[in-house]
Structures are given as structure tokens and as C-alpha cells.
Amino acid sequence: MAAIEVAGLTKQYRGRRGPIKALDGLDLEVPEGGVFGFLGANGAGKTTTIRAAVGHLRANKGTIRMLGASIPDRLPSVIDRVGALVEQPSFFPGFSGRRNLTLLARSRRIPLARVESALTTVGLHDRAESRFATYSLGMKQRLGVASVLLKDPELLILDEPANGLDPQGILEMRNLLRQLAGEGRTVFVSSHILSEIQQLCDRVAIVAHGRTIASGTVSELLQGTVSRYRVAVPGAEAEHGAAANALAAAGFRGTNDDRGRLIVEVTADRAQEVTRVLAAAQIYLSELSPIERTLEDAFLELTHEDPAPS
């Protein structure tokens, strides 16, 4: 059984200039266990999908099943097994972090000891008595994650959990989420920070314009059809230009990186042709090295945008 199954989800908002399609038949399957990344640009439909999954809005069409329960009708039957952080963490600004968590815990008869352990886990124990309004963005985010941990959930849904965290906080968050996944839980993370997702997730889905455009393991997504190679040619600008022209004539697409080196896009099985073409043009290269593909490359490629040379 999948932790989350979404089929044909459609959501349309009424805008001043006509309807706005936030989701356009989105499909998604999040398997149980591990960390699942939900990638997309701003406005792609990530948060709308999450909000529909936790019952904050009703979709116009499509179905959602979470831990086997149909959403939103059967949401109450599984809500105690799901922890979610949607958009900005929202708590009562006049109450302390501890008081906010205590009220939530009491509303579901959650042992208060779990409030303390959640505060400790997210590193907020020392500031637990401060008012929420005085927290920095990163501290608010930590309190949001602590609220997710309160229910000791099987499924964690986190919308941009690294938002506002400093580098140390991001590292701690990554370790925490990996640890939670290691305990057999399913962690569903939405983000637009691609490097973060690449380091954290086992599987990812990429969403654009309200649809899932790719889904699979991170390594599957990184195996794109096109690889890129860095070509180093000794000599001055004239030699670089000649090399670029020779490769272009042979049908290779090339660009220059920020250090003036030639970057050639070529499938792995045609890599040796690059050396042959250059040699035929009396140009002898000093380096032909593959550029490691990142999730950012895959993402930009899938969303039809040019990847920035690295």
C-alpha cells in the first residue's frame, strides 16, 4: 500500500481575470518508507496538493488516498498517524512555544512528555518559554516540525521544512528527517531547493504547471538522455573558437562556462566522437571530463529551461 496516492487531482481557483488552474490532473504515488521529495517551482502546485491531502481545501476533481483512507471523507480516521507542516508554521503569537504545543497535545490526549521530547529533538528546549511572536523564522520552522513530531506519526508531510534555517539548521533537519525515515516512517518533503532534495531523498516527483512531469528514484532521474562533458583545449581564444566551430559542424551543441571552457552536450555513447572530430580538425584536447548531472539539471531539462553551466 502506498502512503499517499493521488490520481487526476484538479483544483481551480477563481481569479479576478478568470479561473486559475493550480492543479491540472496531478498523479502521484508515494511509497511507504523513506524520504520522498516533491519538487517544483513556485506556483507549480506543491502546496495546493499538500493542502488538499490534509483537508485544508477540496479539489474540483480527482482522488487522494492517504495511508489507505480516502481524503477528505476518511481523513479523521488516519489523522493521528499523520503529521504535517503546511506553508508557514502558524501558532498563537502570544503564547510560548511550549504552551502552543501543549494545547495541541491536550486536544488529542497526547502525553505531555512528548512535547518536551519534540522540543528537545528540534533544539528549541532553551527557548520553549519564549513567546512564538519573538521567534526567528528558523525557530518558527523548528516549532512547526516539533508539532509534526507530537503525534509520533507514520507519515510526515513537510512543506519546505528548511525554510529560514541556517546552514547548521539545514544539516540538522536533514539528519533528523533521515533518522525518521530510518525508523520506518514515510517522510514527504516538498521543496524547491533542489540540492537539498538530492541529498535527502530516496525518490522524487517533479511537478510543473499542476502536473507530475517525472517521478522515480533520484538516480533514475539523474540518468537523463543527455550528458554533458567539459572539453579543455590548450591555447588562446582562437583555438577555443575553432574547437567550438568544429564540434558545431559535427552536430554537437556546445556552450562556454563562466571560465571560458567549452561544455559539450552529448550522449555517453557518442563521447568518443568528440575527440575524433577535434582530432580531425587538428585540435588536440587536454581534458574531456564528464560533468556530474545534478537534480537541478534534470529539473531544468524536464521543465524545458536551459541548465546553467557548472
Binding site: 493542502r51 490534509v54 483537508g55 485544508h56 481545501l57 477540496r58 477528505p72 481523513l75 479523521p76 489523522i79 499523520v82 503529521g83 504535517a84 503546511v86 506553508e87 508557514q88 508554521p89 502558524s90 501558532f91 498563537f92 503569537p93 502570544g94 503564547f95 504552551r99 494545547l103 495541541l104 491536550r106 486536544s107 488529542r108 490526549r109 512547526g144 508539532s147 503525534k151
Partner: protein, 302 residues
Amino acid sequence: MSGVGALLGAELRRFFSRRVVRGAFAFGIALTTLVMVIQIARSAESTATQRGTSFVCNVPTDATGSTAAGGAPTDCTTRPTVATLRRDRRLNISRHYSEAVGGVGVAMVLVAFIVGASFVGAEFGAGSLSTQLIFEPRRTRVVTVKALAVGIGLALTAIVLLLYLGVLMYAGSELRGVVNGLDSTWFAARAGDLVRVGAAVALAGILAYAITVVARRTVAAVAGLLIGQVASGIVGSLKNWHWVAKYNPATALILTALNPVHHPGDPEAQILHLRGAIATSCIWAVGLTIVAAVIFSRREVR
């Protein structure tokens, strides 16, 4: 139902943790203390001499002693007069407490509007409802339990303040006033007063809360109530539309808090009876809460 109990407990804790509630309670205690200290200091029985003049004339009379027909008064003179007036400004709990409860009750109803509206208005402002719905997604339950928490919280706060007023008044009456007639009938009647004011305050809070669930803003709810009151007054002044003014929520609540005025035999004035006023208040509070729950359960939450 244990889930409802836990949710209600958490909501009541939140109600009593709110600064506006604690502030209003502290202000109520301070104001009651100040007013009672002044009342106790002024509590005394005194006499005053009032000097004046009287105009005296002789009136001609006939043999039977009656005023003679056509006889004009003669020998009119002005004489000084001295009158001794007895002033009783002593605190008398048996007489004054009921009046005080009615007056304070109306003020409490007005404060309850603001506290009830801000209870959920603050949640819309902070966006904390979205977090709460991840713990309890049954929205109708959430709206209903919050309404109950507002009602119970406000009623308890009002009754505690009125009891404090009663204790101070009793102490003042013992020290510098009159304590008599405090029998079981008096206690039963005063208990009825407290319950009546508690109910009016609770219903006022629930009503304002329900309007805010729909309007999403505290200010909009309070303004809506005030505008509604003025509009119902205007509409109610039209021929055949008197019932609009009589059955509007603010009138019903204030009449619930005040001692009822009896108008037996006048069907249009049924609201002026205590039972009619409470029933009208309840219908408004429950009706608006149901409307709020229906709207909230269909609305997108941010």
C-alpha cells in the same frame, strides 16, 4: 465523545490563557474593588437640615368652616421653616446587589461581544486554525467546541466577577451598612440573577464568535453587530416591522441580562419576558453557530 472533552479542555485552557481575557478579568476585579471601596466609604446614614420659607394667609370661612364664596385670602405673611431630612446611603446587600448585577451584566454583555469575536478572530489573524485542523480535521466539531469554550469561559468569568462583587458588598454592608433579609429566598433569587447574567454573557460571546467565523475579522464582527443594531432600530420603526427591533440579538441579550419587564397579554412583547429574551438569544446564538459551522466546513483554510 472523549475527543470532544479533550478538545474542549484545550480550548478552555486557551480561552483562559488569552491576554484579553486575563486583562478584562483583572480590569473587572480592579474596577469592582475601586467602586466598592468608594461605596463603602460613602456608606452612612445622615440627617440634613433644610431651611426654607412658607407663605401663609388667612382665608375667610363661613359658619360651617368652609371657604367663603368669593372670599379673598388676607394677612399673607412669609414664615421661616426648618425641616430635618434623613438620608440613608448605607450599603444594603439585600437591596443593592440585584440592581448592581443587572447594571454590571449589561456592561459584561458588551465586553463579551469583543472577547467572543476576538477568540476566533485572533486565530484567523495568526493562521493557527490550519495547524489545529491537522490535529482535529472535523471542522464542525472544531467550530462547535470553540463556541462552547467561549460560552463556558465567559459565563464562568462573569459569575466569578459577580460573586466577587457580592462578597465585597456583603463585607461593606456588614462593616458600614445593613445586612438583613438574606434568607433562602433572597439567595435563590440572586443565584437566578447570576445564572441569567452568565447566560446572557455566554450567548453574547457565542454570537460574536459565530459572526467572526464567517467574517474572519474581529472588527468586522463587532462592527456588524453594531450596524445590525442600528439597522434593526431603523427598520423596526417602520409600520408592521416593529418585530425586527424587538427580536434583534442585542436587544434580546440585554433583556436577558437585565431584570425582565413583564407585559402580560401582549404577544409582540414576549421577548420582554425573561423566558422570551433567553429563548430569542439562544435562537440567535445557536442559529448563527450552525450557519458558521456550515460555512467553515466548506471553506478553504489558510
